[in-house]
């Protein structure tokens, strides 16, 4: 369950990165549709956070330690919203680049989460 969610969130994050990268390439700021995309990715991260905590509460142990696991879950949760707010403050293509970078960072976090949870 959690691993499937990690995969989906990671792929969604990469798609978001590609989409905002495309907007930046065309010299455009982030628009409403991009923010809906960010909301979808953020929602996936929230679901992942909740599922992760429920798994911990059930007594399952992440391979590399509970503290690191929770820290990465929180980081993944905060990643895209933070980049989204920064793109609100920067209404040029650089705002789009920032969100694209946010998507890439989230994808990296998901890979790490997969390792930490232990496949």
């Amino acid at each position: 369950m959690l691993n499937a969610l990690t995969l989906v969130t990671g792929v969604a994050a990469l798609l978001l990165a590609a989409w905002c990268g495309w907007a930046a390439y065309r010299d455009q700021p982030t628009k409403d549709w991009h923010f809906i995309g960010m909301a979808v990715v953020s929602l996936l991260a929230v679901v992942q956070l909740v599922v992760g905590i429920v798994q911990l509460a059930r007594g399952e142990k992440p391979e590399q330690g509970t503290t690191i696991f929770v820290a990465y879950l929180l980081g993944a949760f905060a990643c895209v919203p933070a980049a989204g707010f920064m793109s609100l403050a920067e209404r040029t293509k650089w705002g789009s680049v920032t969100v694209a970078a946010g998507g890439v960072v989230l994808a990296v976090l998901e890979v790490r989460l997969f390792d930490i949870w232990g496949g």
Binding site: S87, A89, E90, T92, V97, T98, A101, G102, V105
Partner: protein
């Protein structure tokens, strides 16, 4: 405050915003990593964990100066970026030459290879951006 009220140089417009994002990510990465490692297993690799903590503090300061803006902050950020670059190069070389000094990795090990080389690319792009910010400010 009496004479010409100058508008401080804005350092987070355009590419500056992207820099703030990456520095923010590195702050969270370095600080949380070192806080966890120092509190749980400091004895295993004290030098490595202490260096990660120092890196986190430097990243935090640069992030703050970028957001604050202005000429003083720009100069402070420039100095810190140079210190950061020196740190990455020294620690990166050190980890290659004497592996035994670092039983565990730091943020700056192997020139930041564990962080997709962001630690070595970031100060270079930041210094380029900060120098350009000054030139545009002079032109205005």
């Amino acid at each position: 405050m009496t004479a010409v009220e100058e508008k401080p140089i804005r350092l987070i417009s355009g590419p500056g915003m992207l820099l703030v994002w990456f520095y923010g990510v590195m702050v969270v990465g370095a600080v949380s990593r070192s806080a966890y490692q120092i509190s749980t297993e400091f004895g295993r690799a004290p030098l490595a964990y202490a260096l990660s903590a120092v890196a986190g503090v430097v990243y935090g300061f640069i992030t703050y100066t970028l957001i604050r803006g202005g000429e003083t902050a720009r100069r402070a950020a420039l100095v810190c970026c140079a210190a950061e670059l020196a740190g990455v190069l020294i620690v990166g070389t050190w980890t290659l030459v004497d592996r035994s000094a670092f039983p565990d990795a730091t943020v700056w090990s192997y020139y930041g290879a564990g962080y997709i080389f962001i630690p070595v690319l970031l100060p270079l792009s930041a210094m380029y951006w900060l120098r350009r910010a000054q030139r545009t400010a002079v032109k205005q």
